[in-house]
């Protein structure tokens, strides 16, 4: 799987750019020229300069540094959301599809979850649990896990009866071995593809909640939260909405591209 991926040039390049952006986020303290929290009213709406490449915001903070620090919460929260979603989906999918324990019940729950309007459910869960970043992640996992549970279950059922797994069982390999060495690698590629598509979705969703003031709160330089602050002052300083918005579009586009390329690279049969 990894080999096939490495032979696909555009996928490698996209993945490289994403890793590069993540690296910038990790190294934010070194790369960002200014302190993203430092309020300095002299620099209020400062025009772009060598010290502040994108100028200053309404409190004189360096927008460029805030964007760079913002990579951490924006990408980090999206990753955590996806790990949670896939984790829960995998557990449920395996319980239903592989171990066949309460398969019926789990699938009915999944059906019900998929019938619900996900956008409204996010707001309902946040309203119920209270306004907090942790709850935003929980809400997103809550509305999305059912997709993965269903998909993983279908895939597990497809592979479970394949000859190589039957053979492995016949020659006396343990169930754990079959699960880890045969089954999971088989379903990994499709899951990875969907997950990379959904990271874009998660970034947009979390930033939307932050923009509405329901997620990451004001001083933290998350891109959605930055736009929330900027919406009050963008008439005076439009760069404050342009820069975080373009950053979101760029990153989400990269993840969408990666998803498309992964599908090409890992599943050559399927043409769009």
């Amino acid at each position: 799987m990894v080999k096939r991926l490495l032979r696909h040039k555009p996928a490698v390049i996209t993945l490289g750019i994403i890793l590069f952006i993540s690296l910038i986020g990790i190294l934010a303290p070194v790369i960002a020229p200014n302190d993203p929290y430092k309020v300095d009213l002299i620099n209020k709406f400062a025009s772009p300069s060598f010290e502040m490449p994108f100028g200053g915001d309404q409190l004189g903070r360096c927008i460029y540094s805030r964007i760079i620090w913002g990579i951490r919460p924006t990408l980090g929260l999206a990753f955590i959301t996806m790990i949670g979603t896939i984790g829960l989906g995998l557990i449920m999918g395996l319980i239903a599809g592989y171990f066949r324990v309460c398969d019926e019940i789990i699938m009915r729950i999944v059906d019900i979850m998929l019938a619900f309007p996900s956008q409204v459910m996010v707001f309902a869960v946040v309203a119920l649990l209270g306004i907090d970043v942790r709850n935003v992640i929980l809400a997103n996992v809550f509305i999305k896990w059912a997709w993965y549970a269903r998909m993983i279950r279908t895939n597990v059922m497809k592979y479970k009866e394949k000859n190589f797994i039957n053979y492995s069982r016949v020659i006396g390999n343990s169930e754990n071995f079959i699960l880890l060495k045969h089954l999971l690698p088989s379903i990994a590629s499709e899951t990875a593809m969907l997950a990379s598509l959904d990271i874009g979705w998660a970034i947009i969703n979390i930033s939307t909640l932050s923009f509405l003031g329901l997620g990451v709160q004001a001083p933290t330089p998350e891109w959605g939260a930055m736009l929330n602050e900027a919406k009050e002052v963008f008439i005076a300083n439009p760069i404050q909405i342009i820069v975080p918005g373009v950053a979101i579009i760029l990153v989400v586009s990269l993840f969408n591209l990666l998803g498309d390329y992964l599908r090409d690279a890992l599943d050559p049969k399927e043409v769009m």
Binding site: R108, I112, A115, F116, P117, Q119, V120, M121, F123, A124, V126, A127, L128, I131, G200, I204, S207, T208, F211, L212, G213, L214, G224, L227, A230, K231, F234, I235, P238, I241, I242, G245, I248, I249, L250, V252, S253, N256, M272
Partner: protein
């Protein structure tokens, strides 16, 4: 056919039960005590323990859960969701009815925009596949799928209302003029999905045998495109678009907040901040029921308009 409809209608009962149960459990999980809230709404000066007990008894809070659930469901069917916690002079139903027309107006215009724009664009993308127009539109779709709706709203507001001073920035004080920007914003987030849907559907249909047969018979290209391919792909698209109507209604939440449009979305977000739980509960129930009903409706329509599926039923 009738049997199928009957089966589907019966099938939504568990879904309706689930969504009503969710919203009922939702209001019972919140940390505040309903009896205390009720007393505060009646402006009771001193809230004593006995008074709390008595109110609980009056409100039926001491009944078993299933009795309370049944009472609540019967009230909800009569569109009675109690009173707003924040503005006790108004019932939840009144609040919802104030916002609903605005939201319906907004999603209605967006719906029209989506159809008027995405149908022809998708059609031309499919027949001129890989031409410059198709490539341009694919680029457009790619960018718009990555754009958060609220950001599009802010940018439109900045460019159209502030730079060019053409339309009002927010609120709904100028009638139709103030409706344009919000509905364009809502439409933009859905257009790309539908262009892609129509385009891919038509391209798939073009590869079918019946198109080859029509060509062999020597029919005019225009007739093949309009009478055969378009008609067949419209079947799928009508259903997909119909099922997305509730999504359009709930999808206005974010855009309404950007443009301060006084609809259900603004009401919902305000209620989340104010912890006005009855309103959130009613909103979630309303949208949930809409979703289920529209899904059912267009599932049945799909079977009715598509002879292939209909034959499968019989």
């Amino acid at each position: 056919m009738n049997k199928y409809i009957f089966k589907r209608v019966i099938g939504i009962i568990p879904l309706l039960f689930a969504i009503s149960l969710f919203t009922f459990v939702f209001i019972n999980l919140i940390p505040s005590d309903p009896a205390e809230v009720a007393l505060r709404l009646n402006k009771t000066p001193v809230i004593t323990q006995e008074l709390l007990e008595k109110t609980r008894e009056d409100l039926g809070l001491n009944d078993p859960y299933w009795v309370r659930y049944l009472n609540w469901v019967t009230d909800a069917m009569k569109f009675d969701f109690g009173v707003s916690y924040v503005r006790p002079s108004r019932t939840v139903a009144q609040e919802i009815m104030t916002g609903l027309p605005n939201t319906l107006m907004l999603s209605g215009l967006s719906f029209v925009l989506v159809i008027v724009l995405s149908l022809p664009i998708g059609f031309f993308c499919a027949i001129y596949k890989d031409s410059w127009f198709d490539k341009l539109m694919r680029g457009f779709i790619f960018i718009t799928t990555a754009m958060p709706a609220y950001w599009v709203g802010l940018m439109l507001m900045w460019i159209v209302s502030i730079k060019m001073a053409l339309l009002p920035t927010s609120g709904n004080y100028e009638g139709f003029k103030s409706l344009i920007l919000p509905s364009v914003t809502v439409a933009l987030t859905y257009i790309s999905t539908f262009i892609r849907l129509i385009r891919n559907n038509m391209i798939e249909n073009m590869k079918e045998d019946y198109v080859l047969y029509a060509n062999v018979r020597g029919l005019k290209q225009r007739n093949i495109l309009l009478k055969h391919i378009l008609r067949n792909s419209l079947h799928t698209c009508v259903v997909a678009i119909g099922m997305s109507i509730p999504q359009l209604i709930s999808g206005t939440i974010v855009v309404e907040n950007v443009f301060a449009w006084p609809g259900l979305g603004t009401l919902c977000i305000d209620s989340i901040f104010n912890r006005d739980y009855p309103i959130i509960q009613a909103y979630v129930l309303l949208i949930g029921v809409l979703f289920i009903v529209f899904n059912l409706l267009f599932d049945i329509i799909q079977v009715m308009i598509d002879p292939k599926l209909r034959r499968g039923m019989e």
